[in-house]
Structures are given as C-alpha cells and as structure tokens.
C-alpha cells in the first residue's frame, strides 16, 4: 500500500473543495484580528445581510468563554443550530492555524446538521497581529482591525495585515475622537498589501457592513462558478 493510495475521504481531507458526494462544499471564510476590533459585530452584520440569499453557518473560536457564540445567539442573527463554538485551550491561533482539527469537526457537524451550506464564517477569538488561518480550514480570510487600536497598525504590517484576502478597517465613526488619520491608514495599507483590497467600515452608521458583504458575495460567486 502506498501513501498516495486513495482512501474513502469522508473526513480525511480538510481542504477538498468537493463533498464526498461530489457536490461543491460550502465556502469557508475566516475572520481574525485583534481583540475588540469588531469581528463578531461584522459576522452578525454579514449574517443579516446575506442570510436571505445564502444558507449560512458560523463557527466561533472563543478564548475562555462562549461570549461570541452567545452574542450571535442573543441577537438571533441565525437559528441556534447554525452556530457552533469551538474551545481553544487559551490559544485561538493554535486552533485556527496549527491544529485545526476541532474547527474542521465543527464545520463537518454543521454540514451534517443543517447542510448543504453555501457559506461558513469562522471567527477567531481576538489574538495578536500574527494570527492567520490555515488554508486547510478556510478558503479566504478577512483581517479586522479598528481605527481605535492605533492608526499605525497598517504600517506595522504582520501576516494578518499584509496577506489577508480582505483587510477591514472598522469603527471609522470613532476616527475623529481618537485622532486616527484614515488617509494615512489607507496609504500604509496599500504599501503593505499592494493590490489586495481594503474596506473601511463603520458598523454603527452609514452603509455599515456593505463593503464586506459585497466582497463576500464576490467570493461566493467565484467559488460556485
């Protein structure tokens, strides 16, 4: 027997684009970023914006509570059976990057329970600027920072800021109060990221999550094309 021998793949291959019955599985998008930047608020807003068009589920990776999952439940952005909380042993970056087994199990359980799904959003608990998702877990990732965390974060870079498929700079409504220069953040982000997109959002005002929702729609269209 050889390592490349093909085995029944119901659970074995994490990044396979097809389900075991041959149909295309749900697109998986990761949302990471520092503590309190607005990841859960973004997930909630995305669910509201997209749930009438797509079949959606959410996996949260909390650090020591079920806070994120409970916020989503309380706000009834999705029925409870579409939300799963993964426990991370104090290390969300391990659970989303180095050892993704518990997250993949949650993804599988959601597909079993409420599938077929179009989209699974995987939120990482707030972590540091180097925390990124494994390609074995997600197909695309969003890094969410906010203007109140300091307008020098795009300049500092790091894997999240530099390589995420979408960088979201959230809480633009707070910029005047915390002295953050949005123009400078946009310029620094472009320097770090080249052609990769950046969205400025305020979830409490204006068009809210729309720029992110539009980007997700684009990803979904490309995924199912």
């Amino acid at each position: 027997m050889h390592l490349d021998h093909s085995h029944d793949t119901t659970t074995v291959v994490s990044a396979d684009a097809a389900r075991s019955d041959g149909t295309r599985r749900a697109l998986r998008i990761g949302l990471g970023g520092p503590v309190g930047s607005g990841k859960t608020a973004t997930v909630a807003a995305l669910c509201r914006a997209l749930r009438d068009t797509y079949s959606i589920a959410v996996v949260t990776n909390d650090i020591y509570t079920r806070e994120d999952a409970e916020f989503l439940l309380r706000n009834a952005v999705l029925p409870p059976e579409r939300i799963q909380a993964v426990e991370t042993g104090a290390c969300p970056h391990t659970a989303i990057r180095d050892d993704i087994s518990a997250n993949l199990e949650a993804v599988e359980d959601l597909e079993d329970a409420v599938g077929p799904l179009d989209l699974i959003l995987v939120e990482s608990g707030g972590d540091n600027l180097t925390a990124t998702f494994s390609k074995g877990l997600v197909d695309a990732q969003v890094f969410v920072i906010d203007v109140a965390g300091g307008d020098d974060i795009p300049r500092k870079g790091g894997p999240g800021v530099t390589t995420a498929d979408l960088l979201v700079v959230n809480k633009t409504d707070l910029a005047p109060y915390v002295g953050s220069d949005l123009g400078r953040m946009a310029h620094d982000a472009r320097t770090q990221r080249g052609e990769l997109p950046v969205a400025f959002t305020s979830l409490t005002s204006g068009e809210g999550v729309k720029p992110v929702a539009d980007w997700v729609r684009g990803q979904l269209a490309a995924w199912s094309a």
């Binding site: 027997m1 390592l3 021998h5 085995h7 029944d8 119901t10 659970t11 074995v12 291959v13 994490s14 650090i63 020591y64 509570t65 079920r66 426990e87 991370t88 042993g89 104090a90 290390c91 391990t94 659970a95 180095d98 050892d99 993704i100 087994s101 518990a102 993949l104 199990e105």
Partner: protein, 236 residues
C-alpha cells in the same frame, strides 16, 4: 489481523514515526485539553511544580495505565470495536467519554492523512462520531509501523504531558520546572508503558478482561463539574 504494517518496515522497529506521533504539535486537538488540571488548579490542588508532579503521578498510574493498555491492545491487532466498548466500561464519567471520542475523531483525521490505511478507514466508518482516543492511537501506531510498547508510551506520556503544558498556561508555572517534572517521571512512565504493553499483548487471545481498569474517581467527578463551568480555558 496481519502483522505487517502498511507504512513501516517491520512492526515495532520504527522509531522516527514514534516521534511524529508523540509530538505535542501533532495536530490532533490535544492542545485544548488539560487532562483535569484546570479543575485541580481551580480547586487549589495544583499550586506549584511539586503539586503538578503529584497530580501527574496519580494520573499516570490510573487513567494513564488504563488508556495505555487499550492503545497497546489496539496496536497488536485486538478488535478495535471491542476495545472501544472496553474503554467505555472503564470511563464512568459521561463528560470524559465525550472528550475521549471527540479526541479520537480528531486524531483519526490526522492519522488518516499521515498513515492512510484500511484499518483506519474501517474504524472511521464504524465510529463516525469518534472511537475512544487511545483505541484510535493504537490502530494509528500499527499503521505507522509501531508496536504495542510504542503505543503505550505515547498514551502514557500524553496522560502527563497534557496537564503539564496546561499548568504552564494556567499558573504561569516556570516551563523549565514543568519539563523537569516530566523528566523525573520518565522512569515510572517506562514502567507503566511496559505493564500496559504486556496486558495489551494478552488482549487478542484473552479478551479485554486482560486489560487493567485502574481509575481516578476524583478526576471523574471534577471532569463532570468542569464540563458545566460557564467560563473555562480548556475543553476538559
């Protein structure tokens, strides 16, 4: 069951595969579990390296031995489904049964990627929600060309390595002290693994009654309580 393993030269002769399987970075979900250490820390039973050593010694000789023997039995070809039932019988706490199956399912994913073979496929198909982790580990060890002592060592080491890592995170315990605790336990660990392997070798002929059933009631009780905590760092 055949004695040749799909990915090894001769069974029991592989060594590097043991390092891969025993590595704390092997992606099988263990990092989110404290092996009962979080509950013991909260209750004030682990406050320093001395307490950690006592806790680990207790765990090694109870659930450590029992789990290691199950793994050894699976590694010599005892029927994994019979062993899975034997593991249930030796795990009175429903919370710990759930944890063992969850970790078994997670290990299965990594094992099938690392050492794909029919035995793992068959166990995954028979227990899609997960078999007990030590049973999966034993089948994996065989697939990797490892023997019963290797499988027993892996499980015995895990039974103390998990709590030691968790206590470093929970208490900010000096990581050198925590590692020294494990090093001091190494001779006992070897003994436990040998005992487990001996019992495991008898299991195919004598049935699961040949396997030890040592248990730690306090670990069972605190695991039940811990599973209901609203705020915790570790899943178990």
């Amino acid at each position: 069951m055949d004695t040749t393993s799909p990915h090894g030269a001769s069974p029991g002769a592989a060594r590097a595969a043991l390092l891969v399987l025993a590595d704390g970075r092997f992606p099988a979900g263990g990092h989110a579990h404290s092996g009962g250490a979080e509950a013991a820390v909260k209750a004030g039973r682990i406050r320093d390296a001395t307490d950690l050593a006592t806790f680990c010694r207790g765990r090694l000789h109870t659930t450590g031995l029992t789990s290691a023997a199950l793994a050894a039995a699976a590694a010599v070809g005892a029927d994994p489904l019979v062993l899975d039932e034997a593991a249930d019988a030796r795990t009175p706490s429903p919370a710990l049964r759930t944890t063992a199956r969850k970790l078994g399912r997670q290990l299965m994913r990594a094992a099938r990627a690392a050492w794909p073979c029919d035995a793992l496929d068959a166990l995954a198909a028979a227990r899609p929600r997960g078999a007990h982790q030590p049973v999966v580990l034993g089948v994996t060890a065989h697939a990797a060309g490892l023997g019963p002592e290797d499988a027993a060592h892996c499980v015995a080491y895990e039974s103390v390595g998990g709590p030691a890592t968790a206590v470093v995170r929970l208490l900010g315990l000096d990581p050198f002290e925590a590692t020294a605790v494990l090093a001091r336990l190494a001779p006992e660990l070897d003994q436990v693994a040998r005992r487990a392997a001996e019992a495991g070798r008898r299991a195919p002929a004598e049935g699961p009654g040949a396997l030890p059933a040592a248990s730690a009631p306090l670990l069972d009780i605190t695991a039940q309580a811990h599973a209901a905590w609203p705020v915790r760092l570790f899943a178990s």
